[in-house]
Structure formats: C-alpha cells, structure tokens
Symmetry: C3
Subunit: 309 residues, 3 copies
C-alpha cells in the first residue's frame, strides 16, 4: 500500500525528505506516461474544489491536473454565490462536498481550516492554500522544479526575494527547504521581512541570511525565487514605488548571476520580472507552472490509489 493513500495533504511540515522524493518520483512517472495511460490513474474519480478565497490559477492547476489523470472536477469557486452565503458552517459544507467527490481541495483564509476540514471529511482533503503560511502543493511544485532543473536540492544557494511578510508561498517553501541542506538568502525591503513570530520555527529547520539588497549575494545564487510586492502593503504610493524598482529582476541583474542559475516565480507576476528575462535559459517560471500541474496530478494519483500507480 502506498503511504499517501486516502491521506490528507494539510501542511508541508508533514512531509519529510523521503516522502518528498517519493512524490517527485511519481511526478516523473506521470510525465513519462502516455496521455492515455495517464488518464487511467484517476479514471472516473471526482475532485471537489471549495475556494473561500478566489484563486483561479490554483483552481485551474488542480482542474487540469485532475483532467490529465482522467478525473473530473466540480465545486465552488466563489463562496459568495453558495450555501455558505446562507450561513452554513464550514463543517457542513465540507461534509456535503465530500459526499459529492473522492477528494476535496480547499482554499481558505484561515489558518487551521484544512486541518479542521480533514477532521470532518470522509474523503481526503488537500490544502490549496490557507492562512498565512500554508500552501503545501505550491511548495512541492517549487521543490520539484528546483530538483528537476538543478538535478539536486542539497548544496544549493537559494535566494528568495520580494514580499516575505505576507506571501504564504514563501513560508511553505522555507518549511519544505528545511528538509534539505541549502543556503537561503532572504531579500526584501525592511518592512516586508519575514514575520518575527515565524522566525523561531524556520530557524529550527534551516539557516538563512537576510538582506535588503538584491545585488549583495546575487552572484552566488543557484536559484532566485521572486515574489510579487503588492502595492496595498505600503502606507503610501511613493514608498511603494521606491521599493518596487529596486527588486525588479532584469537583464542587468541576470548578468551578475551564475550562468546556470534559474529564476522562479509562483505567478502571477506583475512587473517584478522583466519580460526580457522570459526567453533566457534561466527563466524557469513557466516550466514551474507546468510542473505544478504534474505534481498535483501525482498527488491526486497517490491519494486515490491504494497501490499507487
């Protein structure tokens, strides 16, 4: 029996290196299978999505992943037009959605929502982003991308730049990287540094250095992970514009980087990566999106097949 069968995917912290490597191997297998063989994996299975926070990107990544392994998707992408509007509890909505499906994909603003949903659901629950820190399938996608493009994770120097305070993607990635022997550089404006109430836990898992200057260690990095800096995080626009400009990744910055370094981004991007970068061999964010589809397909296949695939 495969260890992921009927298991919830709630937090990246629940995954050890060994488990991550198994998921990566399954993803490799998904990518090697012919489309028709792939469609046998979750044939006739139904995924229900329940998004209390809009995220078309993540929803479609799951939807297309499920379609690629032969399943179908249904659900609620806009909780404004659903029973939740009538005052139904999360527990009831989750119970009903689990009746309608084989696996439930939940996105919610609150920390702990997925763990709670998993307790009341008969079917496995996959956390598609919750609260301030958790987005486990994004972290798995990011780690797989690094592994695939750099052939390893251990030993790499990884810079993460942008809004490190509010992006849950960053926290999930850091917890995931904690399974590997990596050097992490966190680069952000002073006001968007990683939250102080998370630093203790992160430090137990990995070492990192902080900096406000993106150029400081840029020539040492193997991976530059870029995130969006959102205007609404700043008290005034002038402050935002000042900061924004200094974190745009363009060809000038790329020239200072190692030749075989890679640039990642969870997308959508606005202008934090210049379009000039797109056609360079270093830009791997679209590959990252594609790997996201395949890692999710692998997770669905593992969750829904007793003996794996």
């Amino acid at each position: 029996m495969n260890e992921f069968y009927q298991k919830d995917i709630i937090s990246i912290k629940d995954f050890g290196k060994d488990q991550l490597e198994k998921i990566f191997a399954s993803t490799d297998k998904i990518m090697q299978l012919s489309p028709s063989d792939r469609r046998e994996i979750c044939k006739g299975k139904t995924l229900a999505y329940l998004f209390y926070e809009p995220s078309t990107r993540t929803r479609l990544s799951f939807d297309s992943a499920m379609a690629s392994v032969g399943g179908n998707s249904l659900g609620i992408s806009d909780t404004n037009s659903s029973s939740t509007q009538k005052g139904e509890s999360l527990a009831d909505t989750v119970r009903i959605m689990s009746i309608y499906s084989d696996v439930l994909v939940l996105r919610h603003t609150l920390d702990g929502s997925s763990r709670f949903a998993a307790e009341v659901s008969d079917k496995p629950v996959i956390n598609a982003g919750s609260g301030t820190e958790e987005h486990p399938t994004q972290a798995i996608q990011d780690l797989f991308t690094i592994k695939k493009e750099k052939k390893k994770i251990d030993g790499l120097k990884i810079g993460i730049v942008g809004d490190l305070k509010y992006g849950r993607t960053v926290y999930s990635l850091l917890y995931g990287l904690g399974n590997y022997d990596v050097d992490v550089h966190l680069i952000s404006p002073e006001s968007l540094r990683i939250r102080s109430d998370s630093t203790y836990e992160i430090k137990q898992r990995l070492d990192y250095k902080e900096s406000t200057n993106i150029e400081e260690h840029i020539d040492e990095l193997d991976v530059l992970y870029v995130t969006r800096i959102q205007k609404e995080r700043f008290p005034d626009e002038e402050e935002y514009l000042k900061v924004k400009g200094s974190y745009v990744v363009g060809l000038d910055l790329l020239k200072q980087m190692k030749e075989d370094s890679i640039i990642l981004h969870p997308l959508p991007r606005i202008d934090e990566i210049s379009p000039d970068i797109d056609k360079t061999k270093n830009a791997k964010y679209f590959e990252q999106a594609e790997y996201g589809k395949h890692t999710r397909a692998a997770l669905l296949g593992l969750t829904l097949n007793e003996n794996g695939f």
Copy 2:
C-alpha cells in the same frame, strides 16, 4: 421500454406510488453497482443546468450525480452573466440549452417555468426547484431517505417543523407523502403556517395536524423533518429570536423522541439543529444528502436510457 425514458420531471404531483417505488428500486441498483459499471449508465451524455435562482447545493448534487453515471455537465449557474441579461426569452434560452445537451435541469423563481420549458425543449427537462411549491427531485430524495432508513413509509408518523410557509421543499414533500398512508404533524410559528391557498389541495392528499409547539407530539414521531427559519421572514428581529429558539432541535428534545426516530433536513442548516445531534444515530441528514446524489443519478439514468439500466 422504461416509462421514464425521455420524460420530463416537472412536479412531484405527477408521480404515483408505483412510479416512486420504481425510482427507489433504481436508486438501490445505482448504489449497488461498482463505480465503473455505474459510469456506463450515462456515458458520454451531457446535462445542461440553467439556474435562474442560485443554488450551488442543488446544482452540485446534479453535477456529481451525472459524473457518477459517467456523464458531464455544463451550463449557466448565474443568469446575471448570460444571454438572459441581454433580454433573451426563457423559451429561446431553453431551446439553445437543449441543443447543447441531452437533458436540461432548470431552476427558476416562477411557478410553471419548468412546464413551459418542457414544452419548448426537445430534450427532457428536470425541475430543480421552481416557484413556491415544486422541487420534485428533493421530494424524491426525502421519500427515499425515509424508506431507506425506516424500511417503509406507510404507517409512519412524520413531523415537519420550521418555516412551512415559504419553503418549497415542504410542499413537495407533502404532495409526495400523499401517496402513502402517513400521519403528518406540521409544527411552526403561527406566522409561518402552511399557506392557506395550498391547504385545500394538500388535504385532498393527506391528513395533517397543525401545532405551534414542537414538544406536543414529539414522542410519537418516527421522522422529524426540520427546515430553516429565515430571519428575513420576520418583521422585527426580536420576534425572530423569540421564535427561533423554540424550534432548535437539541439533545434535550431528542431525549423525548422514540429511540429509532430519525431527523432529516434538506440542508443547508444554520442553527435549527444543534451540532450535538450530528453524531447521534438519529441524525440522517448527511445520509439524506448522499441519497440525493443517488436518486438524481437514478432519475438521469432512467430519463436517458430507453430500456432503463
């Protein structure tokens, strides 16, 4: 040939006991089939939903039912963003949707909308709730639940509590129960009693007693069917709060009930059933939701297969 083939499902009044029992037998069969055999029943068929009134719950019940028998669903769940916004008539929209599908599922605010749609549609039309009284698939789901959980319907004492004036579910259930030999107790605040213009027709079909006190006959009931009392039905909030409290089903009330009585609810519930009840053996509202998926799958299978399944 099965008698439901290509037939519309417009009103629960169109179904006699004999027909209901056939649908129940088909539902039992659906539940016994293996998932892959089940998916052969409507393989490659398309359901089109057309919801002029939002109801995520009912829509997803149909969507998951259709998926379980191998078909797919498409349609309009929000008429605000569709051609109906451009002023298209219901007749035209129905005609077009029937071109895009094998069966049409309609939800509409107006009485008679489904009958009208059935007249202009080339494909069978299923009423997923219309006007003040009709919700035939909900009634079939409710009757099947009673049958399944109590092993019979004839001879039962059935209490229906809550908002009996505005809930179309209640009317459809009453018309459906009219096919059986049952004792019905209607329990509601004075202002939410069953509509006087419907009592004549209901009385022709079954006998019922009315009461404002839920405890009055509670120890005699085999089935307690609970519905939501909506705040907006009351002229002032104080009035609402007074009434609301007296119809909440909790453990205290359950203790007064027969040991093998069952509690049903069309869902979503707000707080008219205490969560304490959920884990008792009497709570059957989540089973009811699951039966709803299977009864709808059976109806789709009967409607779309000349020789049944």
Copy 3:
C-alpha cells in the same frame, strides 16, 4: 497530415473557399458519426477558455462541442475573479492556460488579441470573438448553415439586416461570403450602416448594395440574416423605437419572401424576429445554433488530430 492540425483560427480572412469546404465536409462527418465514435475524436483532450468579455452562449457552444467529441473544458469565464485582476498580462495568462490545455479559446474586446495570444501560446488558439470585426467560428457556422439549408452558397441573394455598424458577426460573415459568388443586400438604419473604414476592404471581396428599407428587395432574397439592434446604440429612446419597429421580421414580411427563403440569426434575439416565425419552415436560427456546435466540434477535431478524423 491535415492542414488545420495545430493551426490557430484567428480570422475568417485566413480561410479560402477550399478550406471552408473541407471544414464543411468534416462537419458533415461529425454529424453522421455515432455519439460514441464521435467521442473518440478528441478523447482526453482539454479545451481552455479564456473570456475577457462575457459570452455564455459562445462559451457553452464550445464546451458542448468539446464534450461531443469526447474532450473536456476548463477555464476563465469571468476575468473579474481571476489573476488578470491581479494585473497579470494577457501574455502570461495565455502561456499558463496553454500549459493547462490542448487548445485555447479566447474572447477579447481588442482587435489583434487572438493573433497576439497565438504568438505566445504553445497550443493552438481559436478566436471566439475579438475587437470589432472578428468572430471566425460564427462565420463558419453561418456559412455552413447556408450551405446545408440551401444546398449551395454560390448564386444566392443574401440580405443582412439590423445593426451593421457594431456587430462583429456581420463583418466576419461578409469576409467569409467574399469567397463565394453572392449578391449581398445590407439593410440598416442610416446611423447603423456598415463602418466606412471597413467598406474598402469588404468591397474588394464582394459586391453589396445598401438600403434602409427592408421591404425593397425582400422578394428576391434567398437568405435573410437578422441581427439585434441594441437600444444603447441610439442617442434617445424615441429614435430607437422608431427604427426598431421597422426592422422586426414578422409573418407579414415573410409573406413577401420567396417560399424557400431562410431566416437566420446569430442569437440571442430580443424581438427583431417575431415568435410567430419560429414554427415556419423558413426559420433556421435554431438549426444554425445546432450547426454551430457541430462546426466547432469539427474545428476542434481538425486542430487536434494530425491526420484528421
């Protein structure tokens, strides 16, 4: 190899008579196949729709077409709730959607959007309406309807009536008709005549006569193509009401027409065709909608199968 394999469908101007006839033949084949054979054509393929302009009708036509050939659909029908809201560029959104699918269907307000999308997409792009003039799949549907119902296109007299200024359907149809030897009569109020900046190009493709009076040549027409006149195009309501009445197609007008003439409409209609017409043998607008499903299914089949089907 079929010439449409992996090709974009951007403009009706890119299609010659020979190509149109091949698409018509493929559509005929689609219509003759059994449902289960039809579902083999795009089995397991995924269509992604990306609608920056709402059009439930067109979206569902593609969705049902894709279902009929065995594929599935996913996407964004409301760009207000998607990543585009976060400021993502069209290029990035298109790139991501092409990762999630085998073929991309785009609707956009801007001219040139589809051509641009096709340049950045790895997968074929089908234009489902863009800018002021292009709606190639509607034009193919319209031409196929004429061919099917009149057994030919060459030699026909075709009247196009209504709002000729703002309807992109009209322009696409005219460019498509340019491949055939037809007499075209354009009938509209003075203020809704065909745009002067398009007349040069249209005249290079076909001859047409303009008129404000629908009855002038009505007895000569083989095809009357009716379009909606939208209230919001007029400076005041009185002006609108005056014009509107004179272009309503009713039984009186039909009596003046050739017995075997046909009446078409891209739908939705409001009241520019009287419901009296619906049951006459001349009304072919619902057939036109059905052919729209089949022509789109044929286009999807040709685009996604190297050796056709």
